[in-house]
């Protein structure tokens, strides 16, 4: 079962290490982990995607809450959240496949952000599934490099209204 943990932490040195260390120490998986500042400078938000059974998920949340640098943990399913992943993909192109690649980009709302004689760089910002799909579509051309941010997510606005 997939779960997203939105973890607000104190923005000081070593906190990322403590949180990541907790996952490895307790034998929990990390599918992806993203860290960034929030609107308050002394607070960072870590978005962690992990999977496991019900008890594991509950334990992860409790163990995160136990860490003294963790301010707040929110756990939610993908279905009640908006998830995005930014990905940069460098591909090799030639005269024959250039148009195909551009069409694929159009269909998937990806952008070409840089180009050279042989290479182009494509940017896609979408749900993890659609990013995955887009990469799959590009398998026919030769992918040189990929950089993915991992998932960032917030619960849907309606969820806030419920509380």
């Amino acid at each position: 079962m997939k779960r997203i943990y939105s973890v607000l932490v104190e923005n000081h040195a070593g906190v990322l290490c403590k949180v990541a260390g907790l996952f490895s120490r307790r034998n929990f998986n990390i599918d992806s982990l993203v860290v960034g500042e929030t609107n308050s400078r002394d607070v960072s938000c870590m978005t962690i995607v992990s999977s496991g059974d019900e008890r594991t998920i509950e334990q992860i949340e409790k163990q995160l809450n136990k860490k003294l640098d963790v301010i707040k943990v929110k756990t939610f399913k993908e279905s009640i959240s908006i998830c995005r992943e930014l990905t940069l993909i460098k591909v090799r192109y030639n005269r024959e496949n250039r148009r195909d690649i551009m069409e694929n980009c159009d269909i998937m709302k990806a952008q070409i952000v840089d180009m050279s004689k042989n290479l182009m760089m494509i940017q896609i910002c979408d749900t993890p599934e659609r990013v995955e799909l887009f990469i799959e579509m590009l398998r026919t051309v030769s992918i040189v490099e990929i950089a993915r941010t991992g998932t960032v997510a917030l619960t849907k606005c309606g969820e806030n209204d419920k509380n």
Partner: protein, 544 residues
């Protein structure tokens, strides 16, 4: 005032009476400042034991234990002691010296990333970067160590910070941490549910763990058990919550515990797990424990609840607070006769489920069961008994009778060599009590360097060594599981303990057989002097 003096001022504010440690250049400014105060300094002989001493001290005094060591190897040596305290939730503040701030990260002489290395064994850690943070950090550290689920807190202090001038020293009155607010009061709705379940139960049982001692809730639990007529079993860390002589106490559970205690646990219809982790040694199959019974799990640490077993009623909070509340509920009149059948059944199990002991030739060896029973009877009833790790520990759990005293051991981590330094700390916390440390010769040789510490500080711990020329517990495992292939367990050529006693100028006693054992006990307890008592046991004796 410099950083070192500020730290010492913080310790005075926290009413610290003793600091255990080992010096070195990187912590020398701190000890220099400490020397100007009335706080006692105890120089142990290896750093690990500084943490064990502080642990023994903390467990008996119910204060925070403090130790301070130097950087690099001093700090890394401390880790096993910190991990031992963490596993048993013992409140410690561990101070480590560090190289100068600007050198951190450059692998200079005696530099170790101790906050990184100790991360998974501490409740929290600090690396002090600014001398002006000292008062706040120490206030927080003592608060964190001694509240919620207790545990060790590490403070790493670079040398230059110890020597830097602090602009203004003001010790904060209060801690203000948005990330740390442990639940103390139990949820009122949950408490009511617990009371209701207790009233309905026909075969209730309480399983107490080390959390009851840590919360100081021994009286509340005894009262609850008595008023509600509920039998009690304990984990290893929960030994002593009930007097061993209390008719409502049915011994230690677990794979090294009493068969009748385990049976009582299994046959109950309501189990109150109080301050216990439900770990593998205590409960064979935690996943099966909730079959056919209501499980109430009471713990100050929400992460313990549901970790190994999903309870019917979780209740988070401080045990003392919770049981004070529970004890306020009345309406227990008709319960007592209702539970008499259950108590009679358990008493029958206690009488009939007698454990088999191997045949022991008591003309050649001492029988540890007879020895420990006798020792228990002869010890003052408020004595502090510290068991090491191994067969000696299991024997102690079974046959030492705790009356009004305490039983200490390294339960979670199982750290050999814990008993001498922990007994040292315990004796310092309560010097008028008789303190006995019981160990095998394996654990003794891991901690015998501290004999000189005992002598140096006039600490009269009584040391009992079960001698069998083996690492007995592992040998027993090899006997049961590895077809008696005794690899890496033979302790031949251990030192002659009479010579060791002579070298450290301590009294020495030896019992080669049961008859001599009786005389040894009398001699052991005769006067308040440090003693080494060697008790020869059958190398092939078993703990179960």
């Amino acid at each position: 005032m410099n950083g070192a003096q500020a730290i010492v001022k913080c310790l005075e504010e926290e009413k610290v009476k003793v600091v255990y440690g080992y010096s070195g250049v990187a912590i020398a400014p701190f000890y220099d400042a400490l020397g100007e105060t009335d706080i006692k300094q105890v120089l142990v002989r290896t750093e690990q034991n500084a943490a064990h001493c502080a642990s023994g001290y903390a467990r008996i005094s119910r204060e925070v234990g403090v130790c301070a060591v130097t950087s690099g190897p001093g700090a890394t040596n401390l880790i096993t002691g910190i991990a031992t305290a963490y596993a048993d939730s013992i409140p410690l503040v561990c101070i480590t010296g560090q190289v100068n701030s600007e050198l951190i990260g450059s692998d200079v002489f005696q530099e170790a990333d101790i906050t990184g290395a100790a991360e998974s064994f501490v409740k929290y850690s600090y690396l002090i970067r600014d001398v002006n943070d000292i008062p706040r950090i120490f206030k927080e550290a003592f608060h964190i160590a001694s509240t919620g689920r207790r545990g060790p807190v590490l403070i790493d202090i670079p040398m230059d910070i110890q020597m830097a001038e602090i602009s203004k020293f003001a010790y904060p009155d209060k801690v203000n941490m948005r990330t740390y607010k442990p639940t103390i009061e139990g949820n009122a709705v949950q408490i009511k549910k617990v009371v209701k379940e207790v009233a309905q139960a026909k075969r209730p049982i309480i399983c107490v763990g080390g959390g009851v001692h840590l919360s100081g809730a021994v009286d509340e639990i005894r009262k609850f058990s008595k008023e509600n007529q509920i039998p009690v079993v304990s984990t290893m860390m929960g030994i002593g919550v009930m007097s061993s002589l209390d008719p409502m106490y049915f011994g230690m559970v677990g794979n090294n515990g009493r068969p009748y205690a385990n049976r009582a646990l299994n046959e109950s219809d309501l189990l109150l797990m109080v301050g216990a982790r439900v770990a593998d040694r205590a409960v064979n199959r935690p996943d099966l424990i909730t079959e056919n019974k209501v499980l109430i799990h009471i713990d100050v640490d929400p992460a313990e609840i549901g970790k190994n077993v999903g309870p019917t009623i979780p209740l988070v909070g401080d045990i003392k607070h919770i049981f004070k509340k529970i004890n306020e509920f009345e309406d227990k009149e008709d319960l007592i006769h209702k539970r008499q059948d259950w108590i009679d059944t358990l008493n029958e199990y206690r009488l009939t489920m007698v454990e088999k002991r191997p045949e022991i030739d008591t003309t050649k060896f001492v029988d540890p069961m007879a020895f420990l029973n006798k020792l228990s009877i002869r010890l003052p009833e408020d004595a502090i008994y510290v068991a090491d790790v191994g067969q000696n520990q299991i024997w102690s759990c079974r046959w030492h009778l705790v009356k009004k005293g305490r039983f200490l051991t390294s339960g979670g981590m199982g750290t050999m060599g814990y008993s001498i330094p922990a007994a040292f700390g315990a004796k310092e916390a309560d010097p008028h009590k008789t303190v006995v440390a019981v160990m095998g010769e394996g654990g003794f040789q891991m901690s015998m360097m501290e004999l000189s510490t005992l002598k140096q500080y006039g600490n009269n711990v009584k040391i009992v060594i079960f001698r069998n020329n083996f690492l007995g517990m592992v040998r027993e495992y090899q006997h049961y599981k590895l077809e008696d292939r005794y690899n890496m367990v033979i302790l031949d050529e251990s030192p002659k303990l009479d010579k060791i006693a002579e070298a450290y100028d301590m009294k020495y006693l030896k019992a080669n057989n049961q008859e001599e054992a009786d005389a040894l006990i009398e001699e052991l307890l005769k006067d308040d002097a440090p003693v080494i008592a060697e008790v020869v046991v059958d190398p092939y004796d078993l703990a179960k």
